[in-house]
């Protein structure tokens, strides 16, 4: 017969364990890092040296610039590679990078780039115009590499025929000499230069790729960028070090960068506070972490807020009743209390009543008819649509899985029910969400968003609202909005060479979209960056926000004192 401990003794043990747990919790209540641990040496001038430590909560997929499209891969690829053009950190304008200069032909369809002299990859292989074009053709060849960005280059003459293997080379790319590359487009396109600043177009040493294979190249890349790969420990860490052969001898300022991979947000924040990481951003902060940090005066000077050029809202399927009625769509948009949603996120987002977020050329803070919270008007719009007592039935709102989307979904549910629109939240994994919301006549409402590929209004409005993107499957025009007037305006704007006139056309296009409400625009995020006191980010790219080219560390470190505030 088995014996068991007497009940009172068991209770005694439980009480002791509970007391011990309570004591641990009490001890844990004092935050050990109410201030930063270290300050810099006090230098105000840029200094070279040091290794920056940053972290991401995702794993790295690839280091091949032709394949990198997710945030982390792009962030690292941008440090290993340069492109012909880049964005000026101060003005956001396109400026030469690998190209020494560039010019647009009189036909507005021919672009000529002249490479800097003596460019070499980090292994010493020279980069001339022919090497560039071979690399560019590799990116456009689907049998060589599955590049997700070839559509940005489809207007290059002969690019499609080459991609379909009907031609051995892209006829629209020529190299008159070792430093000159000429691109001819089939029609004028003012966004072509933006595409030439995207990492897909970064040159890679094709002979090396052919020798080692695509898979190995994606693990051990060679580029022409400011850093080179030192090691990649799968799922754990990537270490970059300065490229001694980099064309710009004054950059980078850091000796290296360490990227911790797959480090969950709560760990990132703990490590940052303990000074095991040098930089954190809003992705590393839970709401509790954010509130804790902002409540500590010593940390506040090191928190920086910048607008993130992105838009979030509800995509409304204009093909599915009752949302094919513009009044219903407007009612939905006027029912959303954007301020309350911003408040629920501690103002880490800003209400947005139009399509273009602040920071994007064409942004108009006073766009006529901007979507705003007005439940009376929402009810009036519903009445005008013939629904005096609200919409009949329940309508599914699709969302991707995740805590933030769940919060927005619940707030939307509450707001819409107040005007008589009842919605049911339908959560799906990202692939399923994409598959369903990008399919015609499948999903009526979806909570979605758009982050810019490049700072041009066409990247938002063309992609999301041009009817050519309202395809049967994989439609980027998720609202399946079709408007021939808008299409014609966008087609004209795309080729308009005069910048001011072009922006005015895009603003006119925005007004059409705001009026017809194929989306209920909700908010634009604020980008929150937190750095240790000794980290100086310098100016960084408005597009590639993880850019560390100008970052420098004020070494040696010393214990933090309050006066060290910036």
């Amino acid at each position: 017969m088995r014996s068991t401990p007497r009940p009172e003794r068991a209770l005694e043990g439980i009480a002791l364990a509970a007391l011990a747990a309570l004591a641990s919790l009490v001890a844990a209540c004092r935050d050990p890092y109410p201030t930063p641990r270290f300050s810099g040496a006090g230098s105000t001038a840029e200094r070279r040296g040091g290794v920056l430590r940053v972290a991401f909560d995702t794993d790295l997929r690839t280091l091949d610039p032709a394949q990198a499209y997710d945030e982390l891969s792009t962030a690292i690829v941008r440090h290993l590679n340069d492109t012909l053009l880049d964005y000026d950190p101060q003005t956001g304008e396109l400026v030469p990078m690998l190209a020494e200069r560039f010019e647009l032909g009189a036909d507005h369809k021919t672009y000529t780039f002249v490479l800097r002299p003596n460019l070499v990859f980090s292994d010493g292989t020279p980069l001339d115009s022919r090497a560039f074009v071979r690399s560019f053709e590799r990116m456009l060849d689907p049998q060589k590499v599955p590049c997700p960005g070839t559509s940005f280059y489809h207007l290059i003459e002969g690019a499609e025929a080459f991609g379909e293997h009907r031609a051995p080379h892209v006829t629209g790319i020529t190299t008159p000499d070792a430093r000159t590359i000429v691109f001819r487009l089939t029609q004028a396109d003012q966004t072509f230069l933006n595409a030439m600043a995207m990492p897909f177009s970064a040159p890679v040493p094709v002979d090396y790729v052919a020798r080692v294979g695509n898979d190995e190249f994606a693990r051990n890349p060679i580029g022409v960028g400011p850093f080179m790969l030192e090691r990649w420990e799968a799922g754990s860490r990537v270490v970059l070090r300065r490229n001694p052969r980099y064309w710009n001898s004054s950059r980078p300022l850091l000796d290296g960068v360490v990227y911790e991979l797959s480090l969950a947000r709560h760990l990132q924040f703990m490590r940052f506070q303990r000074a095991d990481l040098d930089h954190a951003n809003d992705y590393a902060l839970t709401t509790a972490d954010y509130l804790s940090l902002t409540s500590q005066p010593a940390w506040r000077p090191f928190i920086e807020r910048k607008p993130d050029i992105a838009m979030y809202g509800v995509a409304i399927n204009c093909e599915l009743p009752p949302f094919d009625n513009v009044h219903v769509r407007r009612a939905l948009s006027f029912a959303i209390d954007r301020d309350a949603i911003a408040r629920s996120r501690n103002y880490r987002i800003r209400p947005l009543g139009g399509l273009y977020p602040p920071g994007l050329p064409g942004y108009d803070p006073n766009v006529p008819g901007a979507h705003e919270y007005n439940p009376d008007r929402a009810r009036a719009e519903l009445r005008e649509a013939g629904y005096r007592d609200g919409l009949p039935g329940e309508h599914d709102l699709w969302l991707t899985e995740g805590p933030a989307a769940a919060v927005y979904g619940q707030l939307l549910q509450a707001d819409l029910s107040r005007v008589g629109i009842r919605i049911r939240l339908k959560f799906a994994s990202f692939p399923v969400f994409l598959e369903m919301t990008q399919r015609r006549r499948a999903v009526a409402l979806s909570y979605s968003g758009w982050n810019m590929d490049f700072p041009d209004p066409s990247n938002f409005i063309d992609t999301l609202f041009h009817s050519r993107n309202a395809t049967e499957e994989h439609a980027q025009n998720q609202s399946f909005y079709r408007n021939p007037t808008l299409d014609a305006l966008l087609d004209r704007a795309r080729i308009e060479p005069d910048r001011a006139r072009r922006i005015a056309m895009y603003q006119e296009a925005e007004r059409i979209v705001v009026r017809d409400a194929p989306w209920a625009f909700m908010f634009t995020p604020q980008r929150i960056e937190i750095e240790q006191p000794y980290v100086h980010r310098g100016a960084y790219s408005p597009v590639y926000v993880h850019d560390q080219r100008n970052t420098w560390l004020d070494l040696p470190l010393r214990p933090f004192v309050q006066e060290a505030r910036r």
């Binding site: 088995r2 005694e12 695509n214 799968a234 490590r271 994994s429």
Partner: protein, 310 residues
């Protein structure tokens, strides 16, 4: 004995086949993998190219036949997400998972059995009560709670351990593995302690133990040499199962501690719909469980002749 092992191996293979088929079918319903491969902004032509590249344009039965054909040859396919062979991905993460498994199993067996033996030897005393109550409380705590408490208190507040991650050198890896290994092993340690105690209490009342006592042997020798040996039989069985389960990595623990093992790979592959990796991890896991079961069956058969003759 040979036929016994052969029977078990055949059964294990059948189970692995069934599990891999079931996983393949389930993943077909999870969404379009092309979205995982190319992201949301690729055009139709790129999507078609990728579909062809991975054979996703073929009918399901063709995809299945190709998949099983490769599997028989030991090829688990290529990850959509990383575009590398799945066996490579699992292979480079497996040693990390094994490190965690070995450390946690060592901890749970050594500490669990020691505590159980102590409780049995002091049956009915405060020590017995405290150990059993502690085991009871510990078994009620899920890993995602204990793991985070360990991180918060032992790593963040007290600074005794690193805050998650894997480290750089081998010693560093071991140092980084201590907290996750503790978190994994806590529950099993308590279970082993209870199991060992109950077995020992029963054995300590047996006739041959009474004889040993009558011969004047010390209590320590009686517990360690005569009783514990027999009490280990059910523990060996549980050990095999624990080992198998840890083969795939402890998904929750690896995620909490950012430990880059097979569990974390499985977690990421599910959220990213990386079908070949999902199926690869499931097959690898079921292989581990079958191996663990087989080892414990064989060990049991060796330890207890009634099993192999039965």
């Amino acid at each position: 004995m040979t036929s016994f092992i052969l029977r078990r191996v055949l059964a294990a293979l059948a189970i692995i086949w069934a599990v891999s088929t079931l996983t393949f079918v389930v993943t077909l319903k999870l969404g379009d993998p092309v979205a995982t491969i190319l992201g949301p902004r690729a055009n139709a032509r790129d999507r078609e190219n990728v579909r062809r590249y991975y054979g996703l344009d073929q009918p399901t039965y063709v995809q299945y036949a190709r998949y099983m054909g490769r599997l028989v040859k030991g090829d688990l396919g290529v990850s959509y997400r990383y575009r590398r062979p799945v066996s490579q991905l699992i292979g480079e993460r497996f040693p990390r998972t094994m490190l965690l498994a070995v450390m946690s199993i060592s901890f749970e067996v050594i500490v669990g059995v020691a505590l159980g033996a102590l409780a049995a030897a002091r049956k009915g005393t405060r020590t017995d009560s405290a150990i059993m109550a502690g085991a009871f409380v510990t078994m009620s705590l899920p890993t995602f709670i204990t793991g985070k408490v360990f991180l918060l208190v032992l790593a963040y507040y007290l600074g005794l351990f690193p805050i998650g991650g894997y480290g750089v050198t081998w010693l560093d890896h071991i140092y980084h593995a201590i907290l996750p290994a503790l978190a994994i092993s806590l529950l099993s340690t308590a279970a082993y302690a209870r199991l060992a105690r109950n077995e020992l209490v029963e054995i300590l009342q047996a006739e041959y133990i009474r004889t040993a006592r009558a011969k004047g042997l010390s209590e320590g020798v009686i517990v360690l040499k005569h009783a514990l040996r027999n009490a280990l039989l059910p523990i060996v069985t549980s050990l095999g199962l624990s080992f198998g389960a840890l083969f795939t990595g402890a998904i929750v623990t690896e995620s909490i501690f950012a430990w880059p093992g097979v569990g974390r790979l499985a977690f990421d592959s599910v959220s990213g719909l990386d079908v070949p990796v999902i199926v690869g991890c499931v097959i690898f896991g079921s292989f581990g469980i079958q191996l663990g079961n087989l080892l414990s069956d064989v060990a049991y058969a060796f330890l207890d002749p009634r099993i192999r003759h039965g």
